[in-house]
């Protein structure tokens, strides 16, 4: 069934969009990632104009994350205080990111930079996660204890706050910076930023894995909602029909994903997420490395 999208101004298959939304929803529920890093390239591939794809996928992340967050709130696996600190950093980062994005646009190389930042970030994060989870599984096989509360430089910074739910007493500076970085990336890359925030919370802040997912969802919802408003007001690129189709698939998928995630071991989850991140990274890297079938591309007249 073909459907015409009013803002994107293209006609696409409705079931295809439902399927894409559903797939991303399952992943979002399982891993606590918004799935933007997956849905945005998929929408490009279907033929949605990039600006609309980025803005709409951000809006879609709000929906799938909200449904997943509710499931986590019920299980009390959200650290509100940590979430609020991350959020404060995230909102500032989103504003900053929009400035950076507009600057890159003026330089005329925004596509390349977005693509490169995807490849570099996904590559590093995926690789680190893979190594860490393989090590963790090896350790647990040997029967040695996993020491999560490693003391590193993070614990020596001032302005310490007690995060009871996470069992942490650390400075607010690292979570603020993590939030800021994620906010910048969400505005530039059109993603929620969970793929970066989840490992940062585990490895840098030392949060227990069970609260990490719910807490990152909490931050993602508000930052993506803010970014949606920025896109809708400044660029008019949020396509509500596209968003509805994606989120119908997405919210159902998220519920299924959350249940799958709870049944799996944390290390298994991490290894799967790492594999997925590396897969998307590899696909995007190939696009940059292989000779494209069409060397020319069309852009809008204002230099974008």
């Amino acid at each position: 069934m073909q459907i015409y999208l009013p803002i994107a101004e293209v006609s696409v298959n409705a079931f295809l969009l439902l399927g894409v939304g559903g797939l991303v929803g399952v992943l979002s529920g399982m891993f606590g990632v918004g799935g933007g890093f997956l849905i945005t390239p998929l929408l490009f591939f279907i033929g949605i104009p990039p600006a609309v794809a980025v803005a709409t996928s951000v809006n879609q992340i709000v929906a799938s994350s909200f449904s997943a967050l509710l499931a986590h709130l019920k299980r009390k696996t959200v650290d509100m205080r940590m979430g609020s600190v991350l959020l404060a950093g995230g909102l500032a980062g989103s504003l900053l990111g929009v400035q950076v994005f507009n600057m890159l646009r003026a330089l005329g190389q925004v596509d390349l930079l977005v693509n490169l930042s995807y490849v570099v970030l996904l590559g590093i994060v995926g690789f680190l996660m893979l190594i860490e989870s393989v090590n963790a599984i090896r350790r647990s096989r040997k029967g040695t204890l996993i020491t999560r509360h490693k003391h590193n430089w993070v614990h020596n910074l001032p302005m310490k706050i007690k995060f009871r739910k996470s069992g942490l007493y650390i400075s607010v500076i690292p979570p603020l910076l993590v939030g800021l970085l994620v906010g910048v990336l969400s505005a530039i890359m059109g993603v929620g930023g969970g793929f970066l925030m989840v490992p940062a919370m585990i490895y840098l802040l030392g949060m227990p894995t069970k609260v990490v997912i719910g807490t990152s969802l909490f931050q993602i919802i508000f930052v993506t909602a803010f970014t949606t408003m920025l896109h809708a007001v400044t660029n008019n690129t949020v396509d509500i029909v596209l968003a509805v189709l994606l989120l119908v698939g997405g919210v159902i998928g998220a519920q299924i994903g959350t249940r799958i995630g709870l049944k799996m071991k944390a290390e298994q989850l991490r290894i799967l997420l790492a594999g997925l991140v590396l897969l998307v990274c590899g696909k995007l890297a190939l696009d940059l490395l292989l000779m494209p079938s069409e060397l020319y591309s069309l852009g809008r007249g204002d230099g974008n």
């Binding site: 015409y4 006609s11 709000v62 509500i240 968003a243 989120l247 020319y296 591309s297």
Partner: protein
């Protein structure tokens, strides 16, 4: 005085219109609704004349349909180190979003190059490219633009698609792709003899979004804050709704 004389002379020099195009369309308005999946318009007409048919030269009909013009940038990739990067670009001042040419015979037999340029008949002459930078092959960029848009059926060259009966009646159909842009689409009818345009007629098809498409598009541009909030509201309601439904199903 001299100017007036010149005008008078030119007027006298113009031949009396021997043959004229009278034309019609199957629809004047195309509505883009939610299930819009492209459209096919039938174009037909007749050639009105006062005298007997002139068989000394061949009669040709060309019909062009062109969508609203837009400015765009064409970029070219080149390998820089290990990766493919946009290296140069050509700014195109004006190119139609849609351009379909239908002819009654191969176009090279119907028009001369001058006629083509004068009346902007072929796709190539309908595009106004900007000045290319030093060392940039501007033609390769316009060719690429035409190639990309031809693949997506936005630019069409339907040679021989116009059926001309007894040198008097003609008809053709043009299929418009699903990714139509809203606006006024000009339909031109050109009557040709001896590679020259002897008669011309132009009409318009209105392409408009209707119903929900129109409402949402207008809302997004005129009330962006409200539109943004509506998007978020739908997102959160859907997220919450799904959660509630699943809870209910499980209990």
């Amino acid at each position: 005085m001299i100017l007036r004389l010149l005008i008078l002379l030119t007027l006298c020099a113009l031949p009396v219109r021997a043959e004229e195009v009278v034309a019609g369309l199957s629809q004047r308005q195309i509505s883009i609704s939610t299930n819009f999946d492209g459209s096919e318009i039938l174009i037909f007409g007749a050639i009105k004349r006062q005298q007997a048919i002139d068989y000394s030269t061949e009669l040709g009909v060309i019909i062009t349909v062109s969508g609203p013009d837009e400015a765009l940038t064409v970029r070219r990739k080149e390998k820089v180190g290990p990766i493919w990067v946009n290296v140069d670009a050509l700014g195109v001042q004006s190119a139609p979003t849609l351009y379909a040419v239908s002819t009654s015979a191969p176009i090279s037999e119907l028009v001369s190059e001058d006629t083509d340029l004068l009346h902007r008949i072929s796709v190539r002459s309908a595009i106004f490219a900007g000045m290319a930078d030093q060392g940039v092959d501007g033609d390769a960029f316009t060719e690429a633009l035409i190639r990309i848009r031809t693949e997506s059926k936005r630019y069409q060259m339907n040679e021989g698609a116009v059926e001309l009966t007894s040198d008097t009646l003609f008809n053709t159909s043009v299929s418009l792709p699903a990714n139509l842009v809203e606006g006024n689409y000009a339909v031109r009818f050109l009557l040709l003899r001896d590679k020259q345009v002897i008669s011309q007629y132009e009409t318009v098809i209105f392409v408009r979004k209707v119903g929900m498409e129109r409402f949402l598009h207008a809302l997004a541009y005129e009330q962006p804050y409200l539109y943004g909030l509506l998007s978020l509201f739908i997102a959160i309601a859907a997220g919450w709704g799904a959660s509630a439904v699943f809870r209910y199903v499980r209990n």
